[in-house]
Amino acid sequence: MTKKKSFLDIVSENRFIHILLSILLGFLVGAVFLSVMGLSVGAAYGRLITSVTTRKGFSYVIVYSVPYIVAGLSVAFSFKTGVFNIGAEGQFVVGSMAAACVGILAGNLPKPILIPLCFIAAMAAGAIWGIIVGFLKTRWGINEVLSMIMFNWIAFYLSNFIAGIPAIHSDGTAEATKNISPNASMLFSKDFIKSAGLCPTANWGILVAIAMTVLVWFVIEKTTLGYELKAVGSNKFAAEYGGINVNRSILTALAISGALAGLAGALQLMGMGNRISVFSSQEGFGFAGIVVALIGCSNPFGVLIAGIFYGALMFGGSKLNLVGAPTQLINVIVGTVVFFIAISVIFENLKNLKPRANRNTEAAANKKTAEQKEGSKS
C-alpha cells in the first residue's frame, strides 16, 4: 500500500529540511535580537548577503571555510566512530605549530617537497595528540572528554612556548613566530589574484578540503576499516562479539580524526595565517569544527557545504559592524541553529499537527499495515 505523503510528512522525515528549518529559525532569532536593539534587520542581513556574494567576498568565504571544513571532517569522523572529539581544538593547534616549524626551519626546500612535508608534519602531530588520548582511554580507562580538554590546554601552552623559542620566534617585535617560508605558502601568485579579482589570501586550500571530503567519505562508506570503525561506533559490544578489536579501532579513529584536525591547522597557517601568534585564548577552530560537523549531519559532503556556510557567516559577520550591528550576532545565530538541530525532534512531531480526525484514520491504517506485516512474517 503506497500512501501519498503529505507536505508535513516530508518535512517531518527529512533531516536536510530540519537543518534548513533550524538555519531559518537561527536567522529569525537573530532578527528578533536586532529589532530589540533597535537596529535594522534589513540593513544587517543585507550587509551579510552583499559582503559574501561579490567575487572578492566569495573568495574570502572560500578561504575562510577551508580550516572549518577540514576540522568539521575531523569531528564528523569521530562522531561516526562513536567518539566525541572535543580535542580537535588541541590537535588543530599542534598541527598548525608542526607545520609552522617545518615551514620555517626547512624553508629552503623546494615547494613540491616542502608543502607535503608540512602537511605530513601537521597530520602526524594531530594524530599523536589524538592517539595519546586514545591510549589513556584504552590502557587506563581515563575518560576521553576529560583528557581531551586537558590536552587542548597543553597544546595551547605548548604552541605559545614553541613560538617563544629563538629559532622560531619572530625577528621583529611581534609576539608571534617568523613568517613561514614562501615555499610553504599555498597562496596563488599575486598576478593571478589581481587579474582574477580575488581576495589577497586566495589559495588552493579548498582543493585539499574537497579531496579530504571525498577521501573521508570513501574511507567511511567503502572500506573495511570504515565499516569496523562505524560498527564500534554504533555498538561496541556487538562489534567486539563480531571479532573487531575495539581498542585498536578507537585508537585508529582518534588518530585519523586527529590527523584531519592537524591538517586543518596546517591549511589555516599555509593559506591564511602565514605565522602563528602567541595566543591569549583558544582560537576555537576545533570547536567550530564541532558546529560544522553538526550542521553537516556528520556526512562528509554535508560538512563541506556546512563549512562554506560557516565560513560565509564568519566572514560576513566580520563586516556587520559596518552597519552598526555587533559581530557577536553571528554567534547567537549559529548557537540558535545548533540548538534547533539538537531539538530537531520537534520537527519530527510536525506531522502530529494535522487535524485529529485525519490522524486517527492514519493511525488505523498504520496499524493495519503493521498487522499485515506481522501476518506475512508468520
Binding site: 580538554i149 557577536q328 531539538i343
Partner: protein
C-alpha cells in the same frame, strides 16, 4: 622563614581565589551529571553569570543582588538546556555546544548595547563581593601576616566551601539526593517507584546552571572587577574535568578544583620570581591532572544513565 611563610600564605590565598569559581561550577556540573544529564554548557552558563552579576552590581550598587542575578542568569541558560535535553530528548552534547555559543553571544551583544563596548565598566570596591576578614588579623607578627594573607579572600570563597558541605549532605543524606542519584543510574526504576524523573532532571539542570552562574559571577565580581569576553576562558570545561576527576562526587570535585586552583596559585607566585618559562608553568595543572589520573585515580565511573535521554514510557 618569614619569607617562606609569606609566600606560603600567598600561594594558599591564590589557590583559594582560583578554586572558588571552578568549585561553584563543578558543584553545578555534579547536579546535572549525577541526575543523568551531560552538561557541557557549563562554560556558557558561567559566561552569562559573569556578565549579569557584574552588570547588576554596577546598576544596583549591591554586590549580593548582582551575585544572585548572576546565578539566575546561569539558571536561565540551564533551563534552556533542560528544556532541550530533558523535555525534548535532544542530544545533550549538541545542546550544550549550543549553550556555549548562545551564552557568550547574547551577553556580549547586550554589553555592546549597554556600554558600547564588549567590556563592562569596572566595579568600584564597594560593589564587589566583600572581603570578610579584612584587618581582623594583626599583621605585625609573622603568623598574623600569614593568616591575613590566607584570609584576604572574598566572601564567595567561604560560601562555596559551605556549599560543598551542603551539596554533599543533600546528595548522600537526604531523600531528594537518593532520588537524584537514582535518576542518573536507572530512571526507569525510579519511574516505577513514582519518582518524576523528568521533573527531577529538569530541576537539577536548572540548579546546575544557577551554580555555574554564581561561579561566573565570582570571576568578574571578586577576582576581577569587570566582564570581558576573555573573563571565562575554559573554566567551565576545567570544572567539568574536575568533576570527572572527582568521580562525580562533590567531595571529589572539591579535590579536583583545589588541584587546579593550587597550580594556578603556584603560577602566580613562581611566575614573578623564577626563571622558568611562563608558558611551561601554565601547562602544569593540565599535565598534573593527567598524571594524577593515570597514577592514582584511574577509571571514573560515569552514572549509568548519564547522557541518555529519558523517554517516559507511554
Amino acid at each position: 622563614m618569614t619569607n617562606f611563610m609569606n609566600n606560603f600564605g600567598v600561594i594558599l590565598y591564590a589557590t583559594l581565589i582560583y578554586t572558588t569559581p571552578l568549585l561553584y561550577a563543578a558543584l553545578g556540573s555534579c547536579f546535572s551529571e549525577v541526575s543523568g544529564v551531560v552538561n557541557i554548557g557549563i562554560e556558557g552558563m558561567m559566561t552569562a553569570g559573569a556578565f549579569t552579576g557584574t552588570v547588576v552590581a554596577y546598576f544596583t550598587g549591591n554586590p549580593w543582588i548582582g551575585f544572585l542575578c548572576g546565578g539566575l542568569a546561569g539558571a536561565f541558560f540551564g533551563m534552556l538546556h533542560a528544556i532541550a535535553t530533558v523535555n525534548l530528548g535532544a542530544d545533550q552534547t549538541i545542546a550544550g555546544t549550543a549553550i556555549n555559543m548562545l551564552g557568550p553571544g547574547i551577553v556580549i551583544m547586550i554589553a555592546k548595547v549597554l556600554f558600547n563596548s564588549t567590556d563592562t565598566i569596572p566595579l568600584e570596591a564597594s560593589m564587589k563581593i566583600p572581603r570578610l576578614f579584612r584587618g581582623v588579623f594583626d599583621t605585625s607578627t609573622v603568623f598574623g601576616r600569614f593568616m591575613d594573607n590566607v584570609f584576604a579572600n572574598y566572601a564567595s570563597t567561604y560560601l562555596v566551601f559551605i556549599a560543598v558541605a551542603i551539596v554533599w549532605f543533600v546528595f548522600y543524606k537526604t531523600r531528594f539526593g537518593l532520588r537524584l542519584r537514582a535518576c542518573g543510574e536507572h530512571p526507569q526504576a525510579c519511574e516505577t517507584l513514582g519518582i518524576n524523573v523528568i521533573r527531577m532532571r529538569f530541576l537539577c539542570v536548572c540548579i546546575s546552571g544557577f551554580l555555574a552562574g554564581l561561579g561566573g559571577a565570582c570571576v568578574t565580581m571578586a577576582i576581577s572587577t569587570q566582564f570581558r569576553p576573555i573573563s571565562i576562558v575554559g573554566q567551565g570545561f576545567i570544572a567539568i574535568a574536575a568533576v570527572i576527576f572527582g568521580k562525580f562526587r562533590p567531595q571529589g570535585a572539591l579535590l579536583g578544583c583545589l588541584l587546579f586552583g593550587f597550580c594556578s596559585g603556584l603560577k602566580v607566585v613562581l611566575g614573578g620570581s623564577s626563571g622558568i618559562n611562563m608558558q611551561l608553568i601554565s601547562m602544569i595543572p593540565y599535565v598534573v591532572t593527567v598524571i594524577v589520573l593515570v597514577l592514582f585515580v584511574g577509571k571514573s565511573r560515569v552514572p549509568s544513565a548519564n547522557g541518555k535521554p529519558y523517554i517516559k514510557a507511554k
